[in-house]
Amino acid sequence: MQGIASIDRQKHQQGISMKFGIIVFPGSNCDRDMQWVAQGILKQPTRMVWHEDSDLSDIDIVVVPGGFSYGDYLRCGAIARFSPAMKSTVEHAKASKPVLGICNGFQILTEAGLLPGALVRNANLHFVCDRVPLTVERNDLIWTKNYSQGQTITIPVAHGEGRYHADDDQLKRLEDNNQVVFRYSKGENGDSANPNGSCNDIAGICNEQGNVMGMMPHPERASDAVTGSTDGLALFEGLVKTLVAA
């Protein structure tokens, strides 16, 4: 995988596992949902990383989960970025290791400067919780190996501030660099499933290198058949498989 550092190859050749680290802020509320998928369903070693903890040396994949870090009273993710765990997450990303931000995690990654743009209030001003179709824009990333390009997957969303915004130059750079990973799909009648007014129907983006991804939809909520869909599980399964094979 281009640009992704090999992580303790020997360990993974033996154990065939990837260690997830899930950052826990006061106010995180999807941390255990992510833990259930990583540890409960995929049987991967998983550590909950308290926001004051700065040691991520044992972690392969950092996940910044959804929720309302510190209540998000100032601006979503604006305080979380200053935490010791986030400073280490930035280092983790700079070392070309994988970092995934989901929902509030995506907001935090943009605040921390790991991803461009910003997430602002939904266009209709209401919180939206639904299941929406997404188009997989590229499948050459560690995140999307298990999908085919152009595939439509259905993933839950739940956010009040999920409208992706960037200025025209930034959007152009994102598109030129092929950094849009997921887009809200267009239906047969041409209507977009875009639930929040995001620029260019953007649901998820990666950094130029591809090791950092942020997305508003919740793949961890579509990973367990009993809750109605497993379209998101492929993301995590593909991630583990790809990294172990790397």
Binding site: G27, R32, V37, G40, F68, G71, D72, P156, R221, T227
Partner: protein, 783 residues
């Protein structure tokens, strides 16, 4: 004793060191003032007067409803904790124990809908995690006036955003409930929230203080002047001046509550917490007196140690503050620091603010002096009780309404009624906000967080949530809880006894439709003033109906809430009560989440069945009396509501549950508001498929055939390969009480009366068009 016993002018009241208006402002009546003096042996001081005011309010002491509540069945083989604690707890097998309760926040929501509803959610969640349970789901029962009215729209939008704000942030999914509209609720909306939690601690944490000398810990948020006297405010009629009571509405902080959940559960697991009580209504007063009384001990509390939000507060304000997100613990002596460290780690307040004492009193210290000293029992147990007499005969409004009969309706032809076709009438009902899709509401609620929500809201007759311990990723569970909140208040208004029975029957039916066995009930009694003859009759008759039905369904009541004085004064100063609304919250057990049912059709060609009373029933079990059709189309609120046939309900519900457990049922949906035709349309819309239906309409008016309610009826669809086994099952368990109606087919709903000579079916409607009408009815009215 009864505070109203003395006929003479109360002596102490006359010599009270307070102006009558001060006493009245605490909601204390003259006789009650004397009763307070009896218990104290002296006059109360100002702070004590305030404490009695809140603790003797209906909200806290149930002085009007206690004698009626005592008839509820409260024990059963699955009941671990019944009424009296913060929440009921039931045994769901395999070590799973469920805490659940419903609570109202009607008055605060009427004056400040956003915060009123938000703190309603916060309060009921605290009742759950105070027991040591992690909240795993919230449901809401909401009632508003007519959406055509701008004020109602403001209340509706405010309440929904308040619930969304709090529930989403705190990370507990809002998975279901009900939203009902009628002008009876115009000035007084109802906001009832129910929470369900899964026990995380080995022992259920209770409220009774114990261990003389044990420290009393105050944890959570700071104390300010917000929410002063909310319990008294909630126990009086709403007037124009109620808007001036907005300071009595608390302000919630869901982020703080989320941290409080984590910190409390962590603290309970240390084993160092002896007892816990959340601070809801009446704040420090209620928590100290209830902990002391339940434990048979006393509590001494020093207000100077309480973390305060603002300076210059006096004891009265500390004691009556309803600042949110606060709890009181009794800790094991010597282990308090261990607990304090946990709360500090979550950036919450935690201080030792008092201790458990032997003398069974609540003693409040302030600036080195005793600011209040009252027997715990006088505040929490030995409170006034008002026993009232039922009127000799039902009120005139009810007697008049019962005289209604079908003959009062305009004549029905094969094609419709009063110039309206059956199709148009069905559309009218689908466009009724009470029946229509609540998508606009639940789309604003995070209904999926915690990864256990099995059905989308609106997709099935009850919410279904998997019972996986959220804090242990190595454990899964095939067990689930189904939950519902139900009440058709028009039935209760027209016949409180039958209507209340139906609320229980319908809740049990909804659970049965998803495949769950009904287990237990929490009830929220929303009524008008019990001091009026009609109000008391409604309350007493409804309680009688609830009790009887809960016994019949073997679903004990494990707790709940009473909200009286839901009245608004009209412009002439005349009180207008809401419809009596005993909301039934019921939980049911699903042993195997692999065998459950939702309401939409699944596959073309599946056979459709009706269980329960026949489509041409004319026994009185199925009727247009009190129906949505009568109200929406004919603007008539009258008639006898459907009579509950317990034996038939039990048989039908069991047949449905067993069919689902055996894997024979593709979909199940009960017939409620709007009757058979609306239920069929809803199954079409949810499944995005049509149906071809034949009804036996012999001797029955077309509108009764299509829109009558009652009759314990459930619509089931069954795949072709299961038909033989399903019909054998029905013949064995429900002979004579089922019929085949047709099949899932195409993209239209057609309903034909088999006796018809008309060229057209009664109903012939495109599913997409019905979905549009039903799906947009609420959003369209919000503009």
């Amino acid at each position: 004793m009864s505070a109203t016993d003395s006929a003479a002018a109360p002596a102490n009241y006359a010599s009270a060191p307070f102006e009558p208006k001060v006493i009245a402002s605490e909601g204390i009546k003259p006789d009650e003032y004397d009763a307070i003096c009896d218990r104290l042996g002296r006059h109360p001081n100002r702070a004590e007067l305030g404490m009695f005011g809140v603790m003797w309010s209906e909200h806290c002491c149930y002085k009007n409803s206690r004698p009626l509540l005592s008839q509820f069945p409260t024990t059963g083989k699955r009941v671990l904790v019944g009424p009296g604690e913060n929440a009921g707890v039931v045994d769901f097998g395999e070590g799973l124990r469920l805490a659940f309760k419903v609570e109202s926040h009607n008055h605060p929501s009427a004056v400040e809908p956003f915060q009123g509803a938000a703190t309603g959610v916060g309060g009921i969640l605290r009742d759950i995690f105070t027991m040591g349970a992690r909240p795993l789901a919230v449901l809401n029962s909401l009632r508003f006036g007519d959406l055509e009215d701008a004020k109602t729209r403001r209340l509706f939008e405010g309440v929904v955003s308040g619930i969304s704000h709090y529930g989403n942030c705190v990370g507990v999914p809002t998975v279901g409930g009900e939203v009902y509209f009628d002008k009876a609720y115009s000035g007084n909306p109802l906001v009832n929230a129910m929470a369900i939690g899964l026990m995380e601690t080995d022992d259920i944490v209770k409220a009774g203080a114990s261990g003389i000398g044990n420290p009393v810990l105050y944890v959570g948020s700071t104390t300010g002047r917000d929410g002063m006297g909310g319990a008294s405010f909630a126990s009086a009629e709403l007037t124009d001046e109620s808007m001036d009571d907005r300071p009595a509405v608390q302000v919630g902080d869901p982020f703080l509550e989320k941290s409080l959940i984590e910190a409390c559960l962590e603290a309970f697991k240390t084993g160092a917490v002896v007892a816990a009580q959340d601070m809801g209504a009446a704040g420090l007063t209620c928590s100290t007196s209830e902990m002391a009384f339940s434990g048979g001990v006393g509590v001494e509390l020093d207000l100077d140690l309480i973390p305060e939000r603002e300076a210059g507060m006096v004891p009265y304000e500390y004691l009556l503050s309803e600042s949110q997100e606060r709890m009181l613990f009794v800790a094991e002596k010597g282990r308090e620091q261990e607990l304090i460290d946990i709360f500090h780690r979550w950036e919450l307040q935690a201080v030792v603010a008092g201790q458990v004492i032997e003398e069974p009193i609540v003693r409040i210290l302030f600036e080195g002096e005793v600011a209040a000293e009252v027997s715990a029992s006088a505040l929490a147990d030995n409170t006034p009780i008002y026993k009232r007499e039922l009127p000799d005969e039902p009120p005139a409004y009810a007697q008049a309404a019962w005289k209604w009969s079908e003959a009062d309706l305009p004549g029905a032809t094969e094609s419709g009624v009063a110039g309206k076709s059956w199709n148009e009438l069905l559309n009218t009902l689908l466009d009724t906000p009470t029946i229509a899709s609540k998508r606009w509401v639940y789309r604003q609620y995070d209904h999926q967080v915690q990864n256990n929500t099995v059905f989308m809201p609106g997709g099935a007759d009850a919410a279904v949530v998997r019972l996986r311990p959220v804090n242990n990723p190595d454990v899964n569970s095939q067990r689930g809880v189904a939950a519902t909140l139900d009440c058709n208040p028009r039935y209760v208004y027209l016949h409180p006894y039958e209507g209340a029975k139906m609320a229980v029957a319908e809740a049990a039916r909804n659970l049965s439709c998803v495949g769950a066995e009904p287990v237990a009930v929490t009830d929220n009694l929303n009524f008008g003033s019990p001091e009026k003859s009609i109000g008391y009759w409604q309350l007493a008759e409804a309680c009688r109906g609830l009790s009887e039905a809960c016994r019949e369904f073997d679903t004990p009541v494990t707790g709940g809430n009473v909200s009286l004085y839901n009245e608004t004064l009209d412009s002439d100063g005349k009180p207008q009560p809401i419809w009596p609304t005993p909301v039934v919250g019921m939980v049911g057990l699903i042993e195997d989440l692999g065998h459950i049912a939702s309401q939409g059709w699944k596959n073309e060609g599946d056979a459709i069945y009706l269980l329960g009373a026949a489509s041409n029933d004319s026994s009185g079990g199925v009727t247009l009396g009190a129906s949505e059709y009568l109200a929406s189309v004919h603007d008539t609120v009258a008639g006898m509501p459907p009579i509950v046939d317990f034996a038939l309900e039990a048989k039908v519900q069991k047949a449905c549950r067993d069919g689902i457990a055996q894997g024979l049922v593709a979909s199940a949906h009960d017939c409620a508001e709007g009757g058979l035709a609306v239920a069929l349309a809803e199954s079409c819309i949810a499944g995005e498929k049509g149906a071809e239906i034949q009804l036996d309409g012999a001797g029955v008016r077309g509108d009764r055939l299509l829109f009558a309610e009652g009759g314990a009826r459930i619509i089931i669809s069954v795949a072709a390969e299961n038909i033989a086994a399903w019909e054998a099952h029905l013949n064995g368990t429900l002979a004579g009480n089922w019929q085949k109606l047709g099949q899932v087919k195409g993209d239209r709903l057609t309903i034909t009366a088999v006796q018809t000579t008309a060229a057209q079916p009664m109903i012939d409607s495109s599913v997409a068009e019905m979905a549009g009408t039903w799906g947009n009815a609420i959003e369209r009215r919000l503009g």
